[in-house]
Subunit: 201 residues, 2 copies
């Protein structure tokens, strides 16, 4: 029956999610996932052709459950270039920890797996589009730094908001999530915004 089918599928996705969350994307094997889902290793392959497809599906599954598209879309509705930039940083920057485990697993596969590479790049291009929109909004109301080309501003914002930077600031530097957001906002404000548009910080 297809509802059984669906149920097993989401049991697998949930198992993957949970395991990746627990050990932050470290060495989760197909057999671990199967065990966690309470099925045989081979059964996993009945639903997902390869490990990388499973990880990709888990990413989409999480995006869906967490409603990241809506959250990002919402941030776009904020009026005023500066506030909108902040809203975007909040939306994406606070999403990262929620998907860090799966992101790490996918990042690790990028090197060797074609499909994982494409899926991750896709994901990141979506974030970049958000950056473009935020930078354009700032540019339109004159709050973007005068001498800064839009392309370069986008590059900077996009790079600031990378998962790797979140990882470094929180895991290596020991910053709390709130401090991380603070750090990114400060850097974005001072680097990207015109002095007159910049809130004190």
């Amino acid at each position: 029956m297809s509802s059984d089918n669906l149920e097993t599928r989401s049991r697998i996705l949930n198992a993957t999610w949970k395991l990746l969350e627990v050990d932050q994307g470290h060495g989760v094997r197909m057999s671990d996932i199967a065990k966690q889902a309470g099925i045989s290793r081979q059964a996993v392959y009945l639903h997902f052709p390869t490990r990388s497809e499973l990880l990709i599906a888990t990413t989409r599954y999480l995006d869906d459950i967490k409603g990241i598209d809506e959250r990002l879309a919402l941030s776009r509705e904020t009026a005023g270039g500066v506030d909108r930039l902040d809203a975007f940083i909040d939306a994406w920057g606070n999403y990262i920890p929620e998907i860090y485990g799966i992101a790490r697993a996918l990042l690790a596969m990028k090197d060797t797996d074609q499909a994982a590479d494409l899926a991750w790049n896709d994901r990141m291009q979506a974030v970049r589009h958000g950056c473009v929109a935020a930078i354009n909004a700032a540019n339109n109301d004159g709050s973007l730094a005068r001498d800064l080309p839009v392309k370069q501003a986008t590059d900077i914002l996009w790079t600031l908001l990378s998962v790797r930077n979140w990882e470094q600031l929180t895991q290596e530097c020991g910053q709390s999530q709130a401090q991380y957001i603070e750090t990114i906002k400060r850097t974005a404000h001072r680097t990207l915004l015109d002095d007159r548009a910049r809130p004190a910080s």
Copy 2:
């Protein structure tokens, strides 16, 4: 004879270096390295116990040949907080492309290999020390932004200068090396320096 011994050892290191440089740290196997060095795969293990030890040794070897310690030390001698910050960004930022291949290979092993993880972290702590010194210098001559704690300034500079950020800006964003340096300097200046100390940009 021990000079043969040494010669073979450096043939291996050179082979590793060359291969990692060519394919930017992608899937270089022990057998590839052996072939490139003109010896058998097993002979490599006579000189290096594991793949990760070989990569680590290659890193040190490169650091040595390229004289990165001297380059970083030299940047410390630049007088004036702002110029010194720039000198440090030049020194490290221009070194990254020279070691990108090996860095990538090591980064990929970090996830699964204890020794690689330690070696890489060590390396990055050395860079962090350079960041601390640069930030302190700026702080001492009053060019550091007034409201910015030294620790946070260090976190930001260190994160800006990560290999991952170089990778993203040059490989993903398509910036040239010169543009990359420009981007990092701009971001560092505007984020870390006091408005009055900041050169126009």
